[in-house]
Amino acid sequence: MQIEIDRLNKVYRGGIHALNDVDLTIPSGMFGLLGPNGAGKTTLMRILAGILRPTSGDLYIGEYDGNMEKGRMAIKRVLGYLPQELGVYPDLSAREFLDYIGILKGMDDRKTRQKKVGELLEVVSLTNVANRKLKTFSGGMKRRIGIAQALLNNPKLLIVDEPTAGLDPEERIRFRNLLSELAGDRTVLLSTHIVEDIAQTCRNLAIMNNGYVIFQGTTADLTLEARGKVWTVTTAGSKPQGDFTVVSTMHMGDSVQYRLVGELASPNGAVPTEPSLEDSYVWLMRESRTPRVIVAS
């Protein structure tokens, strides 16, 4: 299910521009949406999920027009959505909550619904606490309930907004793997500000900043963007000065190794280094102070 977004704008009350002429093509499979907090990712996700209306621009998900009420309703039928802050009824058990969501998603047949709820509780490893009230759940358990509710209707489009925020490393890995598995036969749109999550799961991605899409392409394309812009400098301890971003500082006993991203005029002992995805992201963020869109071929 391909998503086509054309010159999409969203202006909130008070004249706040959350999205500025966003053009994006999201193919089937796993797609990452990366950007700092306030970049416009959540606004874009909420528009795709039919929660917000765009101020202008076109939006097609598969054959459905996201600007028409009929299209929005059709999109909602094939959509699984995990918001950044998952709202739950604290006094319902996990099983009841999922059953309720199933009803709201139009899963009419009770037996089929209950069977699906049982299966998904198994998938997210919550079967043993299925009858416990949600108010007793940890943040990670609630996230897992979130993904289970998103998958209830076997969606063709899965939108997950910052799904790994607040998860411990093990849970984060498990979650990422689960999303990758799900992307096999559907479109999974993963929004995050954690570069590692994208690096481990997505081949295609877009980067947003200040409401603009500043990059669209593959992770390999993104890495190429920062080639020749990443350096390693080892000093006795003093921090290198200049127009660059220090992305890591590592103490090596009697010296300190710095990893720098930027255009170094005089490298002065700096060793060029192969960029990682995170380096490239930092480079793009530096560059995006003046908006421009890079679409990798």
Partner: protein, 261 residues
């Protein structure tokens, strides 16, 4: 068909969540205790209240009406947080991304939570039935209580419930609850023969004064000793009509709010 099933599902879950509230039962049992105390007084001195000389239908209607003076107050209070809770917990965003219509969710929430709040209220009516059976030895008092409940009490409850679901969308819940209690006494029990204007002598009074006097022919308050049938019917239809109107306005308001985000 889809929406009808979603409506039933929302109704069932809203019912379940509301009826599980411990505070709801505690408050209604508290009210039931007060009612038991009053009825015990009546049993001790039936002649004082003229129970011996009245027809069964009058005794039953008076009993039902008396309970209706207080019991809708907790109903209004306990329904007031149902809609703001969805915003507070954040479930409304999730629900909006689903194919169930907003109107379906509103009606399901209204019916489910109202029904669930009426159930513990019925504990008091069961006590009343017990009292009437003891006092009159007439089993017809059971269907009479039920009919009077449906006629005198339910239209007002539906009316109050609609406002209690809708108003907290724009009002802070505790403020609404405070204003509601004040309104209830001012608009129902406050004598109109005072300098402050009140709704208690109009067909808009949800306590059932005009329905009881007009339709059943049983006056309940000193200031409405008689009323034609059409006034009772008009009161009933007006209360139900306003209920539908309030829910419609709520739906339009929430749709508008959603669209302008």
């Amino acid at each position: 068909m889809h929406q009808a099933r979603i409506l039933l599902g929302v109704l069932a879950y809203e019912f379940k969540m509301q009826i599980r509230r411990r505070s709801l039962w505690i408050v209604f049992i508290g009210f039931a205790a007060i009612i038991i105390r009053i009825l015990l007084n009546l049993i001790a001195q039936p002649e004082l209240y003229g129970l011996d000389n009245l027809r069964l239908s009058t005794v039953v209607a008076r009993g039902v009406f008396t309970l209706n003076i207080l019991l809708p107050i907790p109903l209004g209070i306990f329904l007031a947080d149902r809609l703001p809770r969805d915003r507070r917990t954040g479930v409304d965003e999730l629900f909006t991304s689903m194919p169930g219509y907003l109107s379906t969710r509103i009606v399901g929430k209204y019916l489910g939570s109202t029904l669930a709040t009426i159930i513990p209220m019925f504990v008091s009516y069961t006590i009343l039935i017990g009292f009437l059976l003891y006092q009159t030895h007439n089993v017809f008092s059971i269907p009479l209580v039920l009919v009077d409940f449906l006629l005198i009490v339910v239209p007002g409850l539906l009316f109050v419930a609609a406002f209690s679901i809708a108003c907290p969308t724009i009002l802070w819940v505790p403020l609404y609850q405070f204003l509601f209690v004040g309104y209830w006494f001012w608009g129902n029990s406050y004598s109109p023969n005072t300098i402050i204007p009140t709704l208690s002598r109009t067909i808009l009074t949800p306590i059932g004064t005009y329905i009881s006097t007009g339709i059943l022919g049983i006056p309940q308050v000193p200031w409405v000793q008689s009323a034609p049938f059409w006034e009772g019917l008009a009161s009933l239809l007006l209360l139900l009509g306003i209920t539908v109107l309030v829910l419609y306005v709520l739906w339009r308001y929430l749709s508008w709010e959603q669209a302008r985000q």
